[in-house]
């Protein structure tokens, strides 16, 4: 780019008090241009970089995890939540029962104690309890239990699963998402997790 700058058209005629016509702008060295460009860029880059780091805050590891003990939710160190139902409360024939899971919700600066965070299907088989997340691994609708057919069924895209969670057609990418369960005395503890939909692998979100 040449630094010999002709006066922009229009400026010449209207310039009422220019003392400059006829002057030729002096040629400036590369260093001068470089300094002007670099300093200008720096002045813009500093706030932009700070702002970008701020914007990417959600990617930073968070120190604060959903706690327990303030809202009546009982949760152990491994993240198992104690359910309101006891083992005795589940039918002995293994019929699935749906329960809401409660936990404290951390929402940026807010903590909302004891909020419904999801639901599970529970079955008791030979005094063992198995649990499934009600969310369909296909596209995230809530799976229902069909008593007549004796299966699990998702009304959105007709995914069907056996009562042990095995998929019965090709619509869902994987079996129902089973959850870890601990039975201690009469109490049922569940490690409630949600998983990514529409993949054959079970990935915690």
């Amino acid at each position: 780019m040449s630094s010999h700058a002709p006066a922009p058209p229009g400026a010449e005629g209207s310039c009422a008090d220019c003392h400059c016509s006829g002057h030729t702008p002096p040629r400036r060295g590369f260093l001068y241009k470089f300094a002007a460009g670099a300093l200008g860029l720096l002045a813009g880059a500093i706030p932009s970089i700070a702002g970008l780091a701020f914007f990417l805050d959600p990617l930073m590891p968070k120190t604060r995890k959903a706690g327990s003990g303030t809202g009546g939710v009982v949760k152990d160190a491994d993240g198992f939540i104690k359910m309101a139902i006891s083992v005795e409360g589940l039918p002995n024939d293994g019929a699935p029962q749906k329960f809401t899971v409660f936990d404290d919700i951390i929402n940026a600066w807010n903590k909302q104690p004891n909020q419904p965070i999801g639901a599970v299907w529970l079955r008791k088989i030979n005094n063992q309890v198995i649990a499934f997340n009600v969310t369909c691994p296909h596209l995230g609708c809530a799976i229902e239990h069909r008593n007549a057919q004796g299966d699990f069924y998702c009304p959105c895209h007709t995914s069907a699963f056996a009562l042990d969670g095995k998929k019965l057609n090709q619509i869902p990418p994987r079996d129902m998402d089973s959850l870890e369960v601990k039975v201690e005395g009469h109490d049922i503890w569940i490690k409630f997790q949600n998983f990514r939909g529409a993949t054959s692998e079970k990935v915690v979100t």
Partner: protein
């Protein structure tokens, strides 16, 4: 390749010509530092756009989330403090740069023909920038912004004819609420910035039309904007950035406690660049002429004269008048600003209100960072339920008429009264000299502590001495002297005073009985049941109980059962239903239960009975207020590291 691409692009867009136009503006007499103000302003505005857009990605505008999201930005998010700090201080820098720019334009005569229109465009830009400052001040929804902006919207309502409607529209209702935040946010992030960009484009367009107004005499050969003036502008921009970041890093953008419409902030002040207007409105003469005159008509008149500068400049001496007028306004505003600051610094109430805001703002951070975090009904609810925050306020309101807390009223302030030696106190009380008022009851800062107990046992008359300053005490003493039958607590003559002064104090202060004094104190302190603070020595306390129930002291003497004769619940379990005899029940003395029962009815038989002169607070305080007050006084709240008000005992009258 690059050349070809550029040629292709230029053919389609004419970009080369545009760049030429933008960059090779001629500067007669060469680049100069005095031309940087406009560019510095454009840079600062870009700074505001950058940081503002990022802040908008985290701000949440409602009365339950505005302060909370700003707190979250400031305290929790990556570099949030820096981004907000830059935005906060760059806003102030912009006002300063505006002032410099205006001064340069007027002094250099750059406002004169043919640049009148551009000068007026500049004045419009100035109004927009001030509008941005005003609207941005409210958005954090903290005490300072909330109450300062209340003043602005009230001023708005003083506008002739349309004032009240204007205020309601700006607020989005008759009172501040969600709608106020939404409207101020829309103004701050869309309407005003869009207007600013539009007017700025016009400003630069018109500026380019006439070129820069070169300051004569020219000092060098002509130069072009790029790179000569750009380099100077870039250095200026970096300078502005350095100053702004310096403030952001070393001072930090403040965040007052969350706005509480029920708890007026007495130290509310506008942003410092509006202080001159604030101070101007405080003149009695101005106040007398009405808010509309002081806040609208008079400033409007000054602004009109400023706007008329290019026209005034046409007449002889016109330019000199304009320059003089500008310096007059600048000087006047500067003087008023200094006055406002100096007066506030000398005003104890103002300083203490600031101190309280600082205490509350540290405390709310502590609570918000605790495991409960912030409930959905907002941070202000945390403060409202916090004994450490509310206790002092309740104490100041209900107790500090007679009692003190470390010499102050609970909120760090001294109680003042008209000087009895000033004749004006009788003739013209509102103009009388103020002096620190005498306490009329005990200082409660160490209520129930070892020091307190020791003072009651050894120095009863002095400990309860302030009672003698009370009007009831003077009235009762007079009635008694007149031969009337009255019962009241007399620090020098009551039964307790006599017993202490004649017997216990002498016995217990003997050197050989030092351990026994500690034992008695230990037992009495144990009554308030604050093991974590008091760290009671159980064995020592048991020994104290033994002494008070007739046990022998080290030197062989004994107090006997003189204490338990009157204080008949000494050391046994405290029941609210226990009957009494007008001597304070000492079981659980100073505990939460004791204090609650006492405050509800200090004149009941289990406390002072007929001798009592303290009002009963059972029906003066709501039950939640009573609980907050008692929990504060007994230290029952989420532990704090916030520094409390400094003691002011030394400032009390002797």
């Amino acid at each position: 390749m690059m050349q070809q691409l550029l040629a292709w692009l230029d053919h389609r867009t004419g970009i080369k010509g545009l760049m030429h136009e933008a960059l090779f503006e001629r500067i007669p007499g060469g680049a100069r530092w005095r031309y940087v103000w406009g560019s510095a302003l454009v840079f600062t505005f870009s700074l505001q756009m950058i940081t503002g857009i990022f802040l908008l990605t985290a701000y949440s505008g409602s009365t339950q989330t505005a302060w909370e999201s700003v707190y979250y930005i400031q305290e929790q998010m990556t570099l949030g403090w820096l981004v907000r700090g830059i935005h906060h201080f760059a806003a102030q820098a912009m006002t300063v740069l505006l002032a410099f720019h205006l001064i340069q334009i007027i002094v250099d005569g750059a406002y004169k023909a043919p640049r009148e229109v551009n000068y007026w465009l500049g004045l419009i830009l100035m109004q927009i920038v001030l509008g941005l400052g005003l609207t941005g001040y409210l958005l954090p929804w903290d005490q300072k912004g909330y109450y300062a902006t209340q003043v602005s919207t009230k001023i708005m309502s003083a506008t002739p004819l349309v004032g009240p409607a204007l205020q309601t529209i700006a607020q989005g209702g008759n009172e501040y609420g969600h709608a106020t935040i939404s409207r101020f946010l829309a103004m701050h992030v869309v309407i005003l910035p869009a207007a600013l960009i539009g007017f700025l484009a016009l400003h630069i367009y018109v500026f380019r039309r006439h070129g820069i107004h070169a300051k004569t005499p020219l000092k060098a050969a002509d130069a072009t904007f790029w790179p000569d003036q750009v380099l100077k502008d870039a250095v200026a921009a970096l300078g502005v950035l350095a100053v702004v970041m310096g403030f952001a890093i070393f001072k930090g953008a403040e965040l007052n406690p969350p706005a509480d419409p029920a708890d007026a902030f007495e130290a509310a002040r506008p942003e410092w660049y509006f202080l001159f207007l604030f101070r101007f409105l405080k003149f009695e003469a101005v106040e007398h002429l009405g808010l509309a005159f002081g806040a609208i008509h008079f400033p409007g008149f000054l602004f009109t004269v400023l706007a008329a500068a290019p026209l005034i400049a046409r007449v002889k001496w016109g330019h000199k008048f304009n320059v003089a007028f500008l310096w007059l306004i600048a000087g006047g505003a500067g003087l008023l600003t200094v006055m406002a600051i100096v007066e506030d610094n000398a005003n104890d109430d103002h300083q203490m209100a600031l101190r309280e805001a600082e205490r509350d703002s540290h405390r709310i951070r502590e609570l918000a960072q605790s495991d409960t975090m912030i409930p959905v009904d907002g941070a202000v609810s945390l403060l409202r339920k916090d004994p450490f925050t509310q206790g002092p306020k309740l104490f100041a309101k209900h107790c500090a008429g007679c009692h003190r807390y470390e010499g102050h009223n609970g909120r760090g302030r001294l109680l003042m009264t008209n000087d009895p030696n000033d004749p004006a106190t009788q003739n013209n009380p509102s103009h009388a000299k103020k002096v620190v008022a005498q306490p009329e009851a005990t200082d409660l800062a160490d209520f129930g502590s070892r020091d307190w107990m020791k003072a009651v046992l050894l120095d009863y008359s002095k400990h309860f001495g302030p009672l003698k300053n009370a009007q009831w005490f003077k009235d009762d003493s007079k009635a008694k002297a007149d031969g009337k039958e009255v019962e009241f607590i007399h620090p020098d003559e009551s039964e307790m005073a006599a017993a202490v002064n004649d017997e216990y104090a002498k016995l217990l202060s003997k050197p050989e009985n030092a351990d026994d004094l500690s034992a008695v104190v230990e037992f009495l302190v144990a009554q308030r049941n604050r093991a974590s603070v008091d760290k009671i020595d159980e064995k020592l306390a048991a020994r104290g109980q033994e002494i008070l129930n007739g046990g022998k002291l080290k030197d062989g003497s004994e107090i006997g059962n003189q204490c338990s004769n009157c204080h008949d619940k000494l050391g046994s379990k405290f029941e609210l239903t226990d009957s009494g005899n007008g001597y304070p029940d000492l079981a659980g003395y100073g505990s939460k239960e004791w204090l609650t029962a006492f405050l509800k009815n200090p004149g009941s038989e289990q406390f002072y009975g007929k001798k009592n002169r303290m009002p009963a607070y059972g029906d003066k305080l709501r039950s939640d207020e009573l609980e907050l007050l008692v929990r504060w006084m007994t230290g029952d709240y989420f532990p704090t590291h916030v520094a409390d008000y400094a003691s002011r005992k030394r400032e009390l009258p002797k």
